[in-house]
């Protein structure tokens, strides 16, 4: 089920919120409310994946059992380690089977020349996200950073809780461990959640979807002009940012309504001063996951140069591969490995002294990277990158590019400005004063109502509405 759907907004959400807050909390216990959340999450998941819900519950159960074993053998390190290894193997095996089996089959077949039939397995929605959540629990438990959860319902609630279930942010068990047991939603929490949710919905439906149409137009076009490919890649960059960050906003907002504080996932990545900085701001829950569970255990940067290069390459290979079973994703990840190493060992010092040039470098890097991310094949990506610089184009600016630039100018400008902290700063300045606060008391609810109704208008009229990160 999509957050940005009539079904979610006007059927699922009101029913779940009503049930949730009608359920009592005897002696402050959230058990019954967790049951409501678990049931709602299963319905939410089944709405998109009625069969694969069993896979998710199976992985959840396995992760929980291994957690119990790790705790049981806490004083027997070898057994505890074995339990952890098996927990990792089971989770990665499930992820590998459903997400990567056909990729391996296809490549082995091409390498060996032996025709092998693809399994053609559908990808369970959100498997990459909830698998990483389960892994974080077992690893943190083994490391002693988390307490064991003996109640399966509570653990299942953690893994399956619907706001971040299918597109993140990746929530670690330790981040909501306390809230699973004791939480309450204040009026302020609920209002903040609404605010965050509605704005995320607006980002998704009014900006990401609109720019997604421009991306689709480019992909369907035959025009090979420099302007069109730049228009496409800028639109795609803004589209994917507003798509994903909008979803994260909605997830965080809904979580807040239920009394959870999920981690932030974005912090204005497109204003980053360097590519290293970019990855501290983009999909923060994923990059920190790889940092804490892969990069640092490998030694991080406190190792010899060659080993550091290996560590970076491996982490970014895995990051790319996590996003999709395709060589374009692997190249996308390795592209960032190269850039990060360049920044670290070659040009970082120079760029630090030239902030404008450095920022232009960051922009160029993420634009090129998104072309690899979106392309069907590496060859197609290389062609588009070449077209950005006039290679393989027919003209500088064709009529179609000019038309769509004119037609999408306002959404592009709104998105461009909206991807920076400027709107927040302006709002802060305007509403930060005593008088402004009084104005905000009236203006903000009106703004939220107008936004919500406008989003509803777009949903009811059946507009373009995919979610990019669902396929991960």
């Amino acid at each position: 089920m999509l957050f940005s759907s009539v079904t979610f907004l006007y059927y699922f959400l009101p029913v779940v919120l009503t049930c949730y807050f009608l359920v009592p909390m005897p002696r402050g216990s959230t058990v019954l409310r967790n049951v409501v959340l678990l049931a709602a999450s299963i319905v939410f998941y089944m709405w998109g994946e009625p069969v694969f819900v069993l896979v998710m519950l199976g992985q959840t159960f396995a992760g929980w059992i291994f957690g119990l074993l790790i705790e049981k053998w806490r004083n027997q390190p070898r057994r505890a380690k074995a339990a952890l290894v098996w927990a990792i193997i089971v989770s990665i095996a499930a992820l590998g089977f459903f997400k990567y089996a056909d990729f391996f089959i296809e490549n082995v077949s091409q390498l060996t020349g032996v025709p092998l039939a693809a399994l053609k397995i559908a990808l369970p929605i959100g498997i990459s996200f909830y698998t990483f959540q389960i892994l974080s629990y077992d690893i943190d438990l083994y490391r002693g950073n988390a307490n064991v959860q003996r109640n399966f319902l509570s653990f299942a609630t953690y893994v399956t809780i619907f706001p971040p279930l299918i597109a993140g942010p990746i929530v670690r068990y330790v981040q909501i461990e306390n809230e699973l047991g004791v939480r309450r939603t204040t009026l302020s929490d609920f209002a903040d959640g609404i605010r965050r949710f509605v704005i995320g919905l607006g980002k998704k439906v009014l900006i990401a979807n609109v720019l997604g149409e421009l991306v689709a137009v480019y992909q369907a076009s035959d025009e090979a002009s420099v302007l069109f490919v730049w228009l496409y890649v800028v639109a795609y960059a803004l589209h994917i940012y507003f798509d994903f960050s909008g979803y994260s906003d909605m997830a965080i907002g809904i979580g807040r309504m239920f009394g959870f504080r999920f981690p932030e996932n974005f912090n204005y990545p497109y204003i980053a001063a360097s590519v290293t900085d970019f990855w501290r701001r983009w999909h923060m829950s994923l990059s920190s996951w790889f940092r804490d569970y892969v990069y640092i255990p490998l030694g991080g940067n406190r190792v010899p140069l060659a080993r550091h290069v290996f560590n970076i390459a491996l982490v970014w290979f895995l990051t790319g591969f996590w996003h999709g079973a395709g060589w374009n994703f692997i190249l996308w990840g390795l592209f960032y490995a190269v850039i990060l190493l360049l920044e670290k060992y070659a040009i970082g010092g120079i760029l630090a002294k030239l902030p404008i040039l450095s920022h232009l470098f960051v922009i160029l890097c993420f634009l090129v990277s998104w072309i690899f991310f979106d392309a069907a094949t590496p060859a197609a990506a290389a062609t588009r990158v070449g077209m950005m610089f006039g290679v393989g184009t027919d003209t500088g600016a064709g009529p179609e590019a000019v038309y769509y630039l004119r037609s999408y100018l306002v959404p592009l400008l709104v998105a461009g400005v909206g991807a920076t902290p400027l709107p927040a700063r302006v709002a802060g300045a305007v509403f930060g004063t005593d008088k402004g606060k009084k104005v905000r008391l009236v203006a903000e609810p009106i703004f939220l109502a107008v936004l919500l109704i406008t989003v509803t208008a777009f949903l009811v009229d059946g507009s373009f509405n995919p979610f990019i990160y669902f396929r991960f």
């Binding site: 009539v6 959400l13 605010r195 037609s407 905000r440 919500l452």
Partner: protein, 465 residues
């Protein structure tokens, strides 16, 4: 409630460091607004009974799907539920208008998913899909080559070409109905005239091409609909007259110039784009060219006016034009109106012209039809009478077979004059292999293929095997 300090400046909406003093009231108002909007629509969607048909979009709205184990496991139920939830949403029409207003007035976009508002009114551009056009032309070429054999028998063939030579057969013409977007006053990424011409020239080299793009303007189309206005087709008829070598328009019984002062307004209507755009627009006047009292086809005067089945006062008059429709269910030809006034109040008022989508229609000047079987006696074989080459003995002596889409409905009556008989064939509704059961194809007949981009972009709907 305790006031909290926000510790993040991440998201655009969290711009205050300290909550205002009236934070509780503020929170209550925000929550109340959310509950009113979401809860309000939740309740309204249960209370308000949605219509079964969207009149503006001219389509039936989705019904609540049936929940079964199969539809659930296959996710079909969920997909259908979402469609139903959107279709049955309370105040759907105003919400659709809100979206359109946002797209055009706030985002200042030139179009909404291809739907635009231009100087010539509303329209929708669909890119010419070159492969599809070439496939459509390939089908037309096959049919033309079979017809070039001189009779309809070859139509039953399902493979191979009967003849690659057309010079000894009938005169075969081809014309493209240009998309109105080319007259919108600004370049639209849809219909490319040059590409359209090139495809027709390359794929149909043996057909005589008649170019209509240059003789039309945006004003010749309805503002709210994709079709052209019958009373604006002077230039089009001039182009056909020149290309098909018939008598200049001023001798036509139905010519627009003659009727310039006598065109009649059937009523006002909202074209298809009003509903698709969901924007408030003034209605179009649906005007038509009546058969003049002194209707004369090129050679023989005919008394009387109009068809017998119209519901206008003129309907009391004598018949001068016989219009025969193929009833697909019975396979028989039945007489019907030239202009269908009841259609004006139906789902698609453009069906006023020749009753809209029809597989086969024969228009025949009354005198040309004299000697034909009377109306009501017509059967499948009646087409032999109405379509007999012998009918050339009366009227202009010329016959036109028009392979067409909906644009042909309003155009075809204007051909009555230079042609004694016009046979309209819509291959979206009748298979080419059965045509010879209903239509004879005399070698002397002119054949015209007239299609718009909507059809040429969808070759599979042309039933040419």
């Amino acid at each position: 409630m305790a006031l909290e300090k926000e510790n993040t400046n991440h998201a655009g909406e969290r711009f205050d460091c300290v909550k205002p003093n009236n934070a509780r009231l503020h929170a209550i108002v925000v929550i109340a607004v959310f509950v009113i909007v979401v809860g309000g629509f939740f309740v309204l969607n249960r209370v308000v009974i949605p219509p079964e048909i969207s009149e503006s979009e001219r389509r039936p709205l989705a019904k609540l799907p049936e929940l079964t184990a199969d539809t659930f496991v296959s996710s079909e139920y969920m997909a259908d539920f979402e469609t139903w939830a959107a279709d049955s949403f309370a105040f759907r029409e105003p919400l659709r208008t809100l979206r359109a207003e946002t797209v055009f007035r706030v985002f200042l976009q030139s179009d909404k998913s291809g739907l635009y508002l231009g100087d010539s009114g509303a329209g929708k551009f669909d890119k010419i899909r070159e492969d599809a056009w070439r496939r459509s032309c390939g089908k037309i070429r096959i049919l033309a080559e079979r017809l070039a054999a001189g009779n309809g028998a070859g139509l039953r063939e399902t493979s191979g070409e009967i003849s690659g030579e057309l010079q000894n057969g009938p005169n075969i013409y081809a014309a493209i109905v240009p998309d109105k977007s080319i007259y919108a006053g600004k370049w639209m990424p849809g219909f490319e005239e040059d590409l359209a011409r090139d495809i027709f020239a390359e794929e149909l080299p043996k057909l005589t091409q008649i170019d209509l793009a240059a003789v039309l303007t945006g004003a010749d189309f309805y503002h709210t609909d994709l079709h052209w206005s019958q009373t604006q087709l002077t230039g089009v008829m001039d182009a056909f007259a020149a290309g098909m070598n018939f008598t200049p328009p001023d001798r036509m019984g139905f010519t627009v110039p003659e009727c310039a002062g006598t065109t009649q307004e059937a009523g006002q209507f909202f074209g298809v784009y009003v509903g698709q755009l969901a924007m408030p627009m003034p209605p179009d006047d649906l005007t038509y060219v009546p058969v003049p009292d002194n209707f004369t086809n090129s050679s023989n005067p005919i008394g009387g006016v109009l068809s017998s089945q119209t519901e206008t006062p003129e309907a009391q008059s004598e018949i001068s034009v016989r219009v025969m429709y193929l009833d697909p269910s019975s396979g028989e030809m039945e007489e019907g109106p030239l202009y269908d006034f009841p259609a004006l109040s139906g789902g698609d008022p453009y069906n006023f012209f020749l009753k809209g989508p029809q597989p086969l229609i024969v228009l025949e000047a009354a005198d040309a039809a004299a000697g034909s079987v009377a109306a009501g006696e017509s059967t499948g074989a009646a087409s032999e009478a109405s379509a007999s080459p012998d009918s050339d003995a009366s009227g202009s002596g010329r016959e036109l077979i028009l392979f067409r889409d909906s644009f042909g409905s309003s155009l075809a009556p204007l051909f009555l004059g230079p042609y004694s008989k016009v046979t309209l064939i819509d291959l979206r509704y009748i298979d080419s292999r059965v045509l010879d059961q209903y239509v004879s194809f005399p070698p002397t007949a002119d054949i015209l293929f007239l299609y718009s981009s909507q059809v040429l972009n969808n070759p599979d709907i042309l039933l040419i095997k």
